[in-house]
Symmetry: D2
Subunit: 413 residues, 4 copies
């Protein structure tokens, strides 16, 4: 049997970072302080549901702040962007411990800082929900994302509550400004239980891949979130996910990300894959030392930087050739705005001869709606210039074979 | 002759926003205050050098803050990231008028605020440069990006200098902290002249497309910037380009952007295209009212959001079929990490029979380096499992036809 | 019988300000919102225990923030300045609702803002005290200052607790930084009960006069506080008592002061008198509108500005005359540093003749310790110059009739 | 001849602090960096013009920030408080190097920070003044206060200008906000020359004593400033003179003060005396290390704390006695509000008999206006109760011998 080299590649990366033993495990509660600092794991999940992992990928740890983007996505899905934006802004900010974490309209600056995350948690399951119902909704939703029943570390949550002055202070501030209505204690309890949901690095990779895939679960294929919700969640991870290092992270790693104090770190390549790492030792900023290293390496090695300027579609017009009276326009790749522009550009430049023009879509992979519109318009112009037009689309990638004026275009096979 | 629908589409967009007559032209100097508020233009330039524009696309205006990302790119190219990062950080920040615009190491927060832009300007042409030499270097470089000789509006620059207390205050602050060494007056003069370089919307689209194309000029094909420089420039535009609305802009428009007080606005889709608009009336945040509207519409219509989760490569493995003793693996589209993962996944799952395996690359557009490595590794594993392996690559998209162990792979045609 | 004009003067002042009906009663809890806005009172108490008042001087209201300086004085008296300064700083600050209310050592900026006042409250009766014991200690101490049994408005306190998110947020922040150790709820309960102690304007005048008198109760004569404690309390009232208007208040009124949200306002002239007003309508800064007016008028009319440059002691050396062989030096007024300097200056300038020098202290009122030391030294120098020296001190104002070298000086009667 | 012990006392204090050799001379320009760190001086000047000094009291140094309160007083005297308050606020603030040094109305927070001091300097001699005329006005005025022609250290000023980025930045910020209108360079030049006026510790003591004396020069007796101007100047020194240690200084030393970077430090006891010290080594806050020590000692030893609660007037009613039909009321000390209250209290309590009441003022030193009014009212009430009233005032301390209704009171001798 063939074996898969990606896990070997991931193991190599783990070997590269294993020597980084600097940093300390979080120590503000006994349960975290006594955590084993040694585990190390990395996991990827593609939008097609292929999972690769290496290291201690089955060790459970609590999500902590990594729960924030998922709860944000659920709130957007449940309440809609209008209600969510009215409660929490999306501007970058350090995790300041005070009213500076609120903007001019007394909204938390973004959902990635605790003030915003507590406010988002309160949107889940309606303002009248009990704590248990709200947390159960989150647990079920996170479980559906992970593809297995997740559990809550209630012992750790209890311990967190005993050291929750920071969050209690924030919750009372939010109540004071009318951002939340629930009792401060209940709001913090609810948020703390959300943070205490236990996952493995593999779970996180799968959960994250759903965001990368525009809301379709990579394994079950179930549509869990709108594409717009995913886009908004990724946007806020990009601008605010790494606290006051957001700009540095975007420049050097270029992957929307979020870290948790228990040692987890996730990242997302829109349309491609979800990434998760686990290593409990944290740097001074509270991010996993080895997790950060792994992301840097993956970004460099794998060309995963969001601002990568490599052409995404290549030459969309593969060729324009004439055979007798027929001109063949052969398209290839994914048809997005750029590709359809290439098409339009080519047909305007081309001196058509003969009487039939065939658009060959047999090498086309996908169609973005703007491309459909523009290519139909191009075809209509060819037709209006006096040519017959036919489409060759063996894989039915074009959903609706018409010109831009709505009239039907002929197909050939 | 066929006509191109994209300019018509752009004209439509201009018609949609023409009614927005709110906002005011900048009024802090007579030259800007007396500016004609009516001009309206939009221009696109693809990485292939196709330019589309509509409206007053030949009216010249001063770049102002739009010069910041280009000067930043030049500084990165000239001095390297290490020197540039030592001078200016990359964290988002409001355009605060004070030492809060400096970080803990007394570096300006980012190169998109005036403090950072003045510091970046001083890096150009070396610390010992005269003002005129430095400005001439910038003008020449901007001209090369635009593809024509740009000129400086020295009357406007003179007027700006008469109202430059804000920048003078910043320059003296920078000198006080040792960020710049030049005379404050000269630093402000140099920066003001950089801002007074005149461009049209078309110029800006072309200049911006070079950044989108990883530094290769879309028309001349000349390599002007390293891909890494472009990536860093786009990153800082994404995180800090729109001042204290950076997060909101990233969520709703999702295009790295920069605006200028004379009414210009630019945006970049990495690997795809540059966009520029011009309309002098500004909103309270100092951004062009109609420019912002145009970007919102383009982002919605054309699916240009950076966080778009639509699959970029589609199904990279088009098919695996067997004809007699030969198994054909047909790949398609751009080979990035995701595509090569699909390949590896497919060959591991597939039960190979016969004795020859042919990798058909005839529908493949481009190869990212990670994909080359991974596909070569996959081929080696097929070979090691006892099969003959051959590559069909009519367009020579794979630069080097070898297995991952360096041995040569056979080719068929 | 003669009648006293001071109450008439105070009534006149009340009449002058009665027309000021702007401002609003505090409205964050029903009990304050429904308060009668009309009452108006002013009361003075001299360090000799003479009380003057006018208006609704017997209406009870809750102390609220006016309790802060008294609790601070009690903490200084109980724990000593070292422990108190370690917990709370003394720098002016606005009443910011966040960690900005803490200084670089995480101490609340001063005891007049809520963060500082909650921390001070926790110092009373030891860290292990129950809430009830701590509050009872404060109530008893405030009662002793007022000269009658004060009671706590527990209904109002209960209502305050229902709207105490601001203070709860602060208390949790203080716990987070280790400033306080008690449960946040208990700390806020304890502070809220302190604030809910009920007083009249007359009570406040008496309580305040004790601070003016260096800690000696003006009526009972009981020594309740050290002079140093009073000096420190007055200092912090002067620099931080009026929140972010502290400087304006010091310039225009010049009286260390503190206001409460129920409408009270107190002020202190060190060594002279305590002042209290009551009128519930507050300005935007939360200070009693008419109370502020009364203080302005009293300061103007009565020359009570702390920075008043009118000479406090006048010509301390009333005369130097010679009768035969005897030279009489007649001193007058309070002997402070300035007065003793006048004495020394005079004897150095004077050409003594004859053989006896008599220091006549019959017009001297009091002696500051520095004056005792300096005057004894002066007498010694006269003696060392060859003269006989005698003291005439019919009222025994000089505690110990000796030269600075410890030898006894003769007295005459 | 007798010798004066005060200089000996001052020498003792200098000896006590001489060992404090910590701290560093200011080093931002060569002229200050190369200053001799060893000089040590202290000087006092009473409101009566007696000067005492010890140490290097004749060494000249530049005033630097010590010039601020004197320039503020001159601006108040020239322009009046309304215009001055419109330009500069009086609230405490750290010496922040940015717009945070401006309040909500874009006024510098107070005249003791550089932003405020530069704005105050611009008020002197009118907005249209040349720099030289403005500086000459300040020099002449400072010379008049010092009692000798002061000169400007133009070499040092020149050097300061070469390192004036901080002040230049502030001046441009002030221009940007319309606080000043002059060229930034001229404003900084003017302020820098003001700071470069040279004084000795003795000069400063004399200058400061004029503020203590309500504006009357202690030696020439010339009225240079209104009492109100002095009160306002002292107020702002008390609340903002020691930057972000203002509260600590007020608590521990309790003397309105101002320090300069060349090593000077001044303090003022209203109505009593001016104090100046000189020692160039500065602590981290920029205050003279030994100067601070001297002030602490003087405050402790000499009872000079502003919040001192020692009674200032003592028992104003020395006695009430009857001889036959005549009742003698003997007053003593300075007649302020407290004293007159004592008088009123006494006559209301007293059961008058006989038919003549004599008010004996022969031990009275001074009369505050409120006391005149109240004592006249008291006499009227005695008269209205049916008694004859006469005043014994051998020293004519009561300016106008009438009852409160304007009728003339009889006098006896």
């Amino acid at each position: 049997m063939l074996t898969m080299p990606i896990p070997e590649y991931l193991s190599e990366i783990l070997d590269n970072v294993r020597a980084h033993t600097s940093g300390e495990v979080a120590d503000y509660i006994p349960e975290l302080k006594s955590a084993n600092p040694h585990p190390l794991a990395v996991a990827l999940c593609t939008v097609d549901g292929h999972i690769y992992s290496s290291g201690d990928d089955e060790i459970e740890f609590t999500m902590q702040s990594i729960s924030k983007p998922f709860a944000y996505a659920l709130a957007l899905q449940e309440c809609g962007p209008t209600e969510v934006f009215a409660a929490v802004a999306v501007e970058p900010s350090g995790e300041a411990f005070n009213e500076l974490s609120l903007d001019g309209e007394n909204r938390p600056m973004n959902p990635m800082i605790n003030a915003g995350a507590i406010a988002i948690n309160q949107l889940i399951n309606g303002a009248d929900s009990t704590v248990e119902d709200r947390v159960e909704k989150l647990r079920k939703y996170f479980s559906e994302l992970a593809g297995r029943e997740l559990t809550i570390d209630r012992v750790l949550a209890e311990s967190e509550l005993g050291a929750a002055d920071r969050n209690m202070s924030i919750a009372h501030m939010l109540r004071n400004y009318g951002v939340i209505e629930d009792e401060a204690h209940d709001a913090v309890l609810s948020y703390t239980l959300q943070c205490a949901i236990k996952v493995t690095a593999r779970d996180l990779a799968v959960m994250t891949a759903t965001l990368a895939a525009g809301g379709t679960h990579p394994i079950t294929g179930k549509k869990l979130l709108d594409a717009r919700v995913c886009r908004l969640t990724l946007s806020v991870m990009a601008s605010a996910g790494m606290y006051d290092e957001a700009g540095q992270w975007l420049s050097t790693v270029g992957i929307p990300a979020k870290s948790g104090v228990a040692g987890g770190l996730i990242g997302i390549l829109p349309g491609q894959l979800g990434i998760a790492t686990f290593s409990p030792r944290l740097n001074a900023k509270g991010n996993s030392v080895r997790g950060v290293e792994i992301f840097k390496q993956l970004s460099d090695d794998m060309g995963l930087h969001l601002m990568s300027t490599e052409p995404v579609s290549g030459h969309a017009v593969r060729s324009i050739t004439r055979e007798g009276d027929t001109t063949f326009i052969r398209m290839q790749g994914a048809m997005n705005f750029s590709a359809s522009e290439s098409f339009l550009h080519a047909i305007v430049e081309h001196k058509f001869q003969g009487n039939l023009v065939v658009l060959d879509l047999s090498r086309v992979l996908t169609f973005h709606s703007v491309a459909i519109r523009m290519i139909k318009e191009g075809l209509k112009r060819i037709r209006d210039a006096g040519f017959e037009v036919a489409i060759l689309d063996p894989d039915d990638v074009l959903p609706d074979v018409r010109f831009s004026d709505g009239t039907v275009c002929s197909q050939i096979t």
